[in-house]
C-alpha cells in the first residue's frame, strides 16, 4: 500500500478590509509523507497553520499551491476521483458534541458512509458492518450503542463514534484534528490508545494534530513543529522532545506544565522580584523574537 504524500503545500487566505485586500499565508511550503501504520504529529499553537494543513488534506480547503499525492498520484479537488480519495482519507474533528447530528441515531451516522461509499449494499450487510465498526472502536455491546443518540453518550464515546464513522468507508489514513482536547482528561488516553491500536493492528496512517507535546511524543513516530505556517522542526518524536534544536520548540517545551517542576515558577518569580531586575528573563526575550509577547 502506498503512502499519503504532501508536497510544498501552501495556503493563502485573502483578508478583505474595506476595499483593501491583503493576503495571509497560513501555511507555507509544507511537505511530509505519511506511511501506513505510522503516526505523524503536527504540533503548534493556535494560528500556526496546523489545522489548515489538516483541512487541506481532508479536502475541506483548497491549497493555493502544492500537491497532495495518494499512492503516488495527485488527488483531485472534485468529482468522482475526490470521492475515491475520500475512501482512503478521512477526518476526525475536534468537537464530538458538534460533529454528530443530535437528531440521528449512531446507526444512522455509520450507515451513511457505508452506503455512500458502497462498502455495504444490502441491509443485512450494513447492519453487520455497523456492528463490526462499533466493536472495532470498543463500543460494546454494539447493538445497544447503535440505537443510541449522541446526547446519551459521553464525550469519549462520541469521539469513538466519530472515529468509527471515519473508518466506515475503509479509510487507510485518518486526519485527527485535536481529537481529545475537548474530552475530560481521564478518558483522553483511552481514545488515544484506540487510535494507537488501530494504527498498529490495522496499519492505519494517522495524522495527529495537537498542541499537546506530551501526547504527541507518546503517540507518534514523527513530530512536525509548526510556527506561523512554517515547519520549524521535524524528526523522530523522541529527538524533537528530548533534544529540541529550534528555539521555538524549546520555548514550547519550557511552557508545557511539568509536575516535576514543583514550585519552580514560584521560586523563579521570587528570585526575579528579589533581584529587582524586573526586565524580562530569557523566555520573554525568545517570546519577543517570535512576536508572541503580549498575546
Amino acid at each position: 500500500m502506498g503512502a499519503l504524500e504532501v508536497r510544498n503545500l501552501t495556503k493563502d487566505f485573502v483578508i478583505r478590509n474595506g476595499f483593501k485586500k491583503t493576503s495571509l499565508r497560513a501555511v507555507n511550503d509544507v511537505s511530509f509523507t505519511l506511511e501506513p501504520g505510522k503516526t505523524i504529529a503536527i504540533v503548534g499553537e493556535s494560528g500556526s497553520g496546523k489545522s489548515t494543513v489538516a483541512r487541506m488534506i481532508a479536502k475541506l480547503e483548497t491549497p493555493s499551491s502544492g500537491e497532495i499525492l495518494l499512492d503516488g498520484t495527485p488527488s483531485a479537488q472534485r468529482g468522482a476521483s475526490l470521492a475515491k480519495y475520500r475512501h482512503d482519507v478521512q477526518m476526525v474533528f475536534q468537537d464530538p458534541f458538534a460533529s454528530l447530528n443530535p437528531f440521528h441515531s449512531i446507526r444512522h451516522h455509520l450507515e451513511r458512509p457505508l452506503r455512500i461509499h458502497k462498502v455495504a449494499r444490502t441491509q443485512k450487510d450494513v447492519d453487520a458492518a455497523v456492528e463490526e465498526l462499533l466493536t472495532r472502536v470498543n463500543l460494546t455491546p454494539a447493538k445497544v450503542f447503535a440505537e443510541k443518540r449522541p446526547h446519551e453518550m459521553s464525550g469519549g464515546q462520541r469521539q469513538r463514534v466519530a472515529i468509527a464513522r471515519a473508518l466506515a468507508p475503509g479509510a487507510r489514513f485518518l486526519i485527527a484534528d485535536e481529537p481529545v482536547s475537548m474530552l475530560d482528561v481521564s478518558i483522553r488516553l483511552g481514545v488515544l490508545n484506540l487510535l494507537a491500536r488501530l494504527q498498529r493492528e490495522e496499519n492505519l496512517g494517522v495524522l495527529y494534530i495537537t498542541h499537546d507535546l506530551a501526547t504527541a511524543r507518546h503517540f507518534s513516530d514523527e513530530i512536525i513543529v509548526m510556527f506561523r505556517g512554517n515547519i520549524v522542526e521535524r524528526g523522530p518524536s523522541d529527538d524533537v522532545i528530548l533534544n529540541p534544536q529550534h528555539e521555538y520548540t524549546k520555548l514550547l517545551l519550557s511552557a508545557a506544565p511539568d509536575p516535576k517542576n514543583q514550585g519552580k515558577l514560584r521560586d523563579e518569580v521570587r528570585n526575579e522580584l528579589a533581584s529587582t531586575a524586573t526586565a524580562s528573563g530569557e523566555a520573554t526575550a525568545v517570546r519577543d523574537r517570535f512576536g508572541t509577547a503580549g498575546l
Binding site: 470498543n138 469519549g156 481521564s186 478518558i187 483522553r188 483511552g190 490508545n193 506544565p257 509536575p259 518569580v269
Partner: protein, 305 residues
Amino acid sequence: MSTSTVSARPAGDAGAGPGAIPVLTASNISIEYQVTPVVQAVKDVSLTLHRGEILGLAGESGCGKTTLAYGLNQLLKPPALRTSGEIVLHDKDGHDIDVAALSGNALRAFRWDKVSMVFQGAMNALNPVISIKAQLFDVFDTHRPGMSRKEKTQRSRELLELVGVDPKRLDSYAHELSGGMRQRVMIAMALALNPQVMIMDEPTTALDVVVQRGILREIMRLREQLGFAVIFITHDLPMLLEISDRIAVMLQGEIVELNSAEAIYAAPAHEYTRKLLASFPSLTGERGAFVRAGGDTEDNTGEVA
C-alpha cells in the same frame, strides 16, 4: 485523605504548613440543583484557604468545582441552592465575616472587594459594547463612589500595567484584544479593589501554552507582590502541581483528597487522584511507559454521560 497531618486540624486544612493564617474557611458545604431529580452537586465539602496561598481545585467536568466556587462567593442562582454549610472570611482587620449570611447591599459590598473572581471563559466575559475603561470604572463606581475621574483613570492605568497590558489599551474594546490580553484585563479587573481572595475558574484553559505560561507567571508575581490568596480551578493537574501550594481533588461533588502539592505528587492517596495523574503522559519520562498500559476501553469513573 492524608494520614500524616495531625488529627486536631479541621478537615479542610490538610497539608497546610505550620503558621498558615486562614483567610477563608468553608465548612460542610452542600449545594444542590433543585430540579427533578435533585442533583447533589457539592456534598459536604470543607476547605480552608490561607493568606497568600494558591489552592488548586482539580476535577473533571461535572464534578462540582465551579458550583463550589460560585457557592463560596454567594453567586448561586436558582435552581442551585446551598443547603448547608458555613463560609467565613477572616478579614485583614481582624473581623470575621459570615459570608453565608450576607445579602442585599452588604453582599454587594462584600463581593469583589474581599473576594473577586476570574470567570470561566474569561475570553467572552468582557462586555463587547463598552470599552475596557468603562468596565473598570464600573467597579470603582460601585465600590468606591468617592473616587474622582482622575483617580479612577490613574488606578485603571496602574492595573493594566500590573498585568502587563499597555495602558493605552484602556480605550480599546474587547474584540480588539487578543485572548491572552483579554484574560489579563479580566485579572486586572479582579485585582481592582485589592481583594484578599481571588477565585480563578479555568483562567487559562482556552489559551496556548506559551501564553498560559505568561499568565501563570503574572499570577505568581502578583501574588508575591500583593499577597492575595488564590483558589485556582482547573482540570489540568500537572499545571496545578507546578503552581499550587495545596491541591484539592474533586470527584462527583466531594473532595476526595486534599493535601500539599508535594504530597499529592509523591504519594497520591485516592485512586481517582492516581488516575488523574496517570492521565497526563510525562513529557520527558520513559517513552510509551504509560501507553498501552491502560488499554483503550472506556472507563466510567468521573465521567458524565
